[in-house]
Symmetry: C2
Subunit: 262 residues, 2 copies
């Protein structure tokens, strides 16, 4: 598949079953989103959870009403049941299957949420000449559970998961400036420096993703991460919840630059 494929063509290929892999690096310049789908009796509380915790849970799109699987605000003919390469199905908080199509699971009370993801700000950092270590090293970004409590909403609660990118302080300052422009893809970092201050005991052992090299003179810089809502959902144990499989995102028609508030 040509990496420069348009978001629409990519979604059509996914729908046909011709594209089944990680979407990272495809249709560059366009917003890719995390997915969370759940029944409406859970969705209202989840929406409130996202509203209270916008840095880890930035909503960029959602079903217009329960049962609506077309997410028109994010692009042309987006069917959230078929246009993502791989879904994860959780029942009572347990991962039970990975599937390529959730049409058979969709019901009239389902609500889909699309949340901003770090791909957008990583693109902005790289465009500015900064190095993003996980991309340089070709691995998943390292992610860590922290002691930073989320605001609870109904059955949803938990602590914030963060992603980490090591940088020289000068580059970290520039990254803070750039990411401040993008509040809907996690915004400015939450912390830099001593991992223990946010409850991370071993920076070399991420809870999710892969470890990356931290060079002398660099400090770890920590961003709120979209794994936070996934962890909260797993803990809340809704009877049915569907997410994307990691790296297999919804690719929208929204240019990343549209997320910049300035």
């Amino acid at each position: 598949m040509d990496a420069n494929i348009s978001p629409y063509e990519l979604r059509q290929a996914i729908r046909r079953g011709d594209f089944t892999t990680n979407t990272s690096g495809y249709a560059q310049g366009f917003v890719q989103g995390n997915l969370a789908i759940m029944p409406k009796e859970w969705a209202n509380e989840f929406l409130q959870f996202c509203q209270l915790n916008p840095k880890p849970c930035p909503i960029v799109g959602m079903s217009a009403s329960p049962g609506d699987y077309m997410i028109n605000t994010l692009g042309k003919d987006i069917d959230i049941r078929t246009d993502i390469p791989k879904y994860r199905v959780y029942r009572d908080g347990q991962l039970t299957e990975e599937v390529a199509d959730i049409t058979s699971l969709w019901t009239d009370d389902m609500v889909a949420f699309v949340l901003g993801c770090s791909f957008s700000f990583e693109e902005a950092l790289i465009a500015d000449g900064l190095e993003v270590r996980n991309i340089t090293e070709g691995v998943n970004v390292p992610m860590y559970r922290t002691n930073i409590e989320c605001q609870s909403a109904g059955r949803f609660s938990g602590t914030t998961v963060v992603s980490m990118r090591p940088m020289k302080p000068k580059d970290a300052i520039r990254a803070i400036q750039i990411c401040t422009r993008f509040p809907s893809v996690h915004g400015a970092p939450l912390h830099f420096g001593d991992p223990a201050e946010i409850g991370i005991s071993d920076i070399a052992t991420p809870d999710f993703g892969d470890a990356v090299t931290i060079h002398p003179g660099e400090v770890p810089v920590f961003w709120a991460c979209g794994v936070t809502p996934q962890v909260a959902i797993e803990a809340a144990r809704p009877p049915l919840c569907i997410t994307h499989s990691p790296g297999h995102m919804l690719v929208s028609d929204v240019p990343n630059s549209r997320l910049a508030i300035l």
Copy 2:
């Protein structure tokens, strides 16, 4: 003197000799500026030096033409020869006297520069609820020579002097966001964390100003400082140069908020 005096009334009091002290804390909300005056054959090079090094040397006003001592762009009836409480006179780079009026030293080839100062961004930080340690402790901000080279312009060259304010990382991130809005008062910090990386060997011994307490969990945050051009001027040794005496600033009619680019 009432701290809420207007900038104009304060300048009039200074001109009459009724106000002779540090201007810090007076006419709050209005831009106070550093002063540098020199003959035009040096001023052109100094202007270029400032243009090349805008973070330590942000020009907020200057003589419209050589010999012009009224700085109308910064406020009503500002006579740069009389409206500053205390001046320092340097001859061949050596401080020779401190005076309250420079009318007798002013000649037709003199050019005055007014440079932005940290008072403006400190006010913005405090308004946002951040602590500024040097203000809390009632001392001058600690300042340090660094190994960060300025861009040279003619006879003006040197390394950057920085001011330091200790903060928790979370507050430092917020301070970076706030100060980014104020490029004409030194803008975002240049560095945080390890002082040795920018050539500071002992954080407890500032080269200028006073040491401040750094609490556990805080990192030193470093901003480009208006002492930088003063050091460059002293090294360049113009035959005559006049600056303000530290803390005895030009108080302008420009609201601090006007310096915000956003």
